[in-house]
């Protein structure tokens, strides 16, 4: 992780294809290192003469690393690029620029065939347990699919392994022959997790793993993810919009806004002493389950909180320089002309702001 990065978004280091191993940025102690990761989606017009008329700058120059056994949380509002980042890490989306180093291998531009052995080690948990399981396949087929694709077990061995996996995630192994529709949302998410665990991956990227679930089921799945991490020594990258869930499960937290990484710190640091104004506002916007009373004249009391106005701007045409300046209460002229660099202060706490809080 570089402490200070160059301030021009979008014009960051382009990865050099053909580098077989990590190039020094990945020290021995990180499992995943992402450097200058960028994804721009072209916006096309025309039917016969397709031409790009603009770019959605979904992710712009994002860098972070994840140590083995660690959980990194990525938070942000919709459109901040957190899902695109997750998809680039598992190579479902081709990065425009930047570099992804996994376990010493540069996987940024690996071809499908070369990627296949590594797929065993990087797996993904999807958000919606209803659309991520094939309704026409039995649980046995779904959870056993990774074994068949990777040809690592015999048919007989697959059945036994699947039953072990079902037991591991807290499902009845007898339910091997059932179809997804026979399960509730929480149980389906467990099936998805069992499938993810089939090949004993090192890294699991979970994109909103609990947001589609009810509160009580959410807690069960969060506890399950933690148990599995302790038991199997997994490393997680967890994408979520819910700040309280992120605080509960993650060791380090990255905050994204409109494709930029604005803050990255240890969990306790970030929640106790957030430095970027966006993080401060985000934390203060979370409604807390502590009742608010009424004042003597019957008006409802209101919590002290920072209230951001307006919506997140479109990533099609993001504000120049600091992308948060349009909604920031601390913004000055420099914020409109110069992008703030990601500065590390105190050690381990990165924030990209000209006028950070708690400094």
């Amino acid at each position: 992780m570089t402490g200070v990065r160059d301030g021009s978004p979008g014009e960051s280091v382009t990865a050099q294809p053909g580098q077989p191993r990590g190039n020094g940025t990945s020290s021995g102690d990180s499992l995943l290192t992402v450097t200058g990761l960028t994804k721009h989606f072209p916006v096309m017009r025309g039917i016969i003469f397709r031409r790009a008329v603009g770019q959605v700058r979904a992710v712009d120059d994002v860098s972070f690393s994840v140590a083995p056994g660690e959980t990194l949380g990525v938070v942000g509002e919709s459109g901040c690029g957190k899902t695109t980042t997750a998809r680039m890490i598992v190579r479902l989306v081709e990065p425009t620029a930047g570099q992804i180093v996994f376990d010493g291998h540069d996987i940024t531009h690996l071809r499908q065939g070369a990627m296949r052995p590594l797929r065993r080690e990087i797996q993904m948990i999807f958000q919606d347990p209803y659309s991520s399981l094939n309704p026409r396949h039995t649980v046995g087929t779904i959870v056993g699919a990774p074994f068949r694709l990777q040809k690592v077990r015999t048919e007989k061995g697959i059945k036994r392994s699947v039953q072990e996996l079902l037991e591991l995630v807290g499902l009845n192994p007898e339910h091997f022959n059932r179809y997804p529709h026979e399960f509730s949302g929480g149980q389906r998410q467990r099936i998805g997790i069992a499938r993810t665990l089939a090949l004993r991956p090192k890294l699991i990227v979970a994109d909103e793993p609990v947001s589609a679930l009810d509160v009580s089921i959410q807690a069960q799945v969060i506890n399950l993810l933690e148990d599995l991490q302790n038991e199997l020594g997994l490393t997680y990258v967890i994408i979520a919009h819910d700040l309280s869930v992120i605080r509960h499960v993650c060791d380090r937290v990255a905050v994204m806004y409109l494709g930029n990484l604005v803050e990255l710190a240890n969990r306790d640091d970030l929640y106790a002493r957030p430095r970027h104004p966006y993080t401060v506002a985000l934390l203060s916007a979370v409604p807390s389950p502590e009742p608010v009373g009424r004042t003597a004249d019957g008006r409802r009391e209101r919590r002290e909180r920072i209230r951001l106005t307006g919506d997140v701007p479109s990533p099609l045409n993001p504000p120049p320089a600091c992308r948060f300046h349009t909604r920031c209460w601390k913004a000055q002229d420099i914020c409109k002309t110069e992008a703030p660099p990601l500065v590390e202060r105190p050690p381990g706490h990165l924030a990209a702001c000209h006028f950070p809080e708690n400094s």
Binding site: E77, S78, S184, G185, G186, Q187, D214, V215, S216, I217, Q218, A219, Q220, I222, N223, E226, H241, L243, S244, V245, R247, H248, R267, Y271, A281, L282, L283, A285, V286, P287, S288, P289, E290, P291, V292, G293, R294, G298, R299, R300, R302, R303, R305, R307, L308, T309, D311, V312
Partner: protein, 382 residues
């Protein structure tokens, strides 16, 4: 709920409201039928008075008892939060109040008095007249609840035109006023935009403007902020709270998010499997909850306002199917404390019982036991 009427209040022959429904096993059925037979008179004080509401859906697999004996009252200027997981009957309750179920596919019984008028017995035309003018709804997903072919202004003015004898021009200027009131900039030009030209937060604002177009007495918001980002959610919650104070309407807010409820509601109704598990002021429910399900909900959510716990106290199992609701207390298969009731949990449906002023809990545990267990759990959590 002003005046402290309980949600389970039922009319007595004398017309007085008892604070508490008659106790005893199976009290739900006889008590209510007796009351219905007596007069069917309404309580004059409450603006909305729901009594022993049942909404059942016959299906090929069996009878789905989505709402099974729900009672509560609500006054103008007050906010009731209905909390529960999916399948607890909270949305069905709101659609039932609005009269959006027809007799062909749903069986409704009980009473819903809106300003003294029973909506369950009223004919379709009358409910239709009231819907939009005296009661209105804010739906969860503004993108699918707004019509993509009509401009936002058109959709806001529609209800106003139907319920009031005004010119199109007047309705349009009314719509502009409403858009301004809900905080949409350049309302004069944005009124001709289509929903897709609005952002998520603005669509929800437009939905709120639509609901307010006829100055309803009752506003039902079904998960109004679930589809929104957290910073936009805070804006919408503030807006709903401000508008309620301005219009002095009664608001029912339905959500699974206990944080949202704490922010808005005066009173909270916790539903489980179509029934009331707990009802009380928001202080009661958040600070002195008495029902194991409420404890479970509170223990299941990671909280930013407390120190981080190592493990969430989740509820085991899954919510029951509404076709086969467990016998006895519907929560008993998931309850950690069912064993303490000497088997009553499996056999008897617990009646709503008063554990404090205006605080009702449907649980077989004694009030002392409830207090003791909650104190222990609260200590672990904080």
């Amino acid at each position: 709920m002003a005046g402290g009427e309980s949600p389970a209040a039922e009319p007595q022959p004398g017309g007085r409201l008892p604070r508490l429904r008659a106790r005893g096993r199976g009290s739900r059925e006889p008590a209510v039928h007796a009351a219905d037979g007596a007069a069917g008179e309404s309580s004059p004080s409450a603006m909305l008075d729901v009594r022993d509401l049942h909404i059942h859906f016959p299906t090929d697999d069996g009878l789905v008892k989505a709402v099974d004996g729900l009672s509560f009252t609500l006054d103008r200027g007050r906010t009731l939060g209905i909390v529960g997981e999916s399948g607890s009957g909270k949305s069905v309750t709101s659609l039932g109040i609005l009269g959006l179920y027809n007799t062909g596919n749903a069986r409704m019984s009980g009473k819903i008095y809106l300003s003294g008028e029973d909506l369950v017995a009223a004919d379709q035309a009358r409910v239709r007249e009231l819907r939009g003018s005296k009661m209105a709804m804010i739906f969860q997903d503004p993108l699918s609840s707004l019509h993509p072919y009509y401009t936002v202004g058109n959709q806001i003015a529609e209800a106003y035109l139907i319920h009031n004898k005004v010119s199109k021009k007047a309705a349009r200027s009314h719509a502009i006023d409403l858009l301004k009131r809900v905080g949409i900039p350049q309302a004069e030009s944005r009124i001709d935009d289509y929903p897709h030209q609005f952002s998520g937060g603005m669509r929800q604002r437009a939905m709120i403007a639509m609901a307010l177009s006829c100055d309803p007495e009752l506003l039902i918001a079904d998960e109004p902020t679930t589809a929104l980002d957290v910073t936009v959610q805070a804006q919408i919650l503030d807006l709903i709270s401000d508008l309620q104070q301005e219009y002095h309407s009664a608001v029912i807010i339905i959500t699974h998010d206990l944080g949202v409820v704490a922010e808005l509601a005066d009173d909270i109704l916790v539903m489980y499997a179509g029934r009331v598990a707990e009802y009380g002021s928001s202080e009661d429910v958040f600070l002195r909850p008495g029902h194991p399900y409420t404890w479970g909900l509170l223990g299941s959510m990671p909280r930013l306002d407390r120190t981080r716990v190592d493990r969430l106290l989740s509820i085991r199992g899954t919510p029951p199917s509404l076709i086969n609701v467990p016998a006895g207390c519907p929560f008993n298969p998931r309850c950690d404390y069912a064993a303490r009731t000497n088997g009553r949990s499996e056999k008897e449906v617990p009646a709503l019982r008063q554990v404090g002023p205006g605080h009702l809990v449907a649980c077989h545990l004694t009030t002392d036991e409830q207090r003791r267990i909650w104190a222990e759990r609260d200590k672990v959590a904080s």
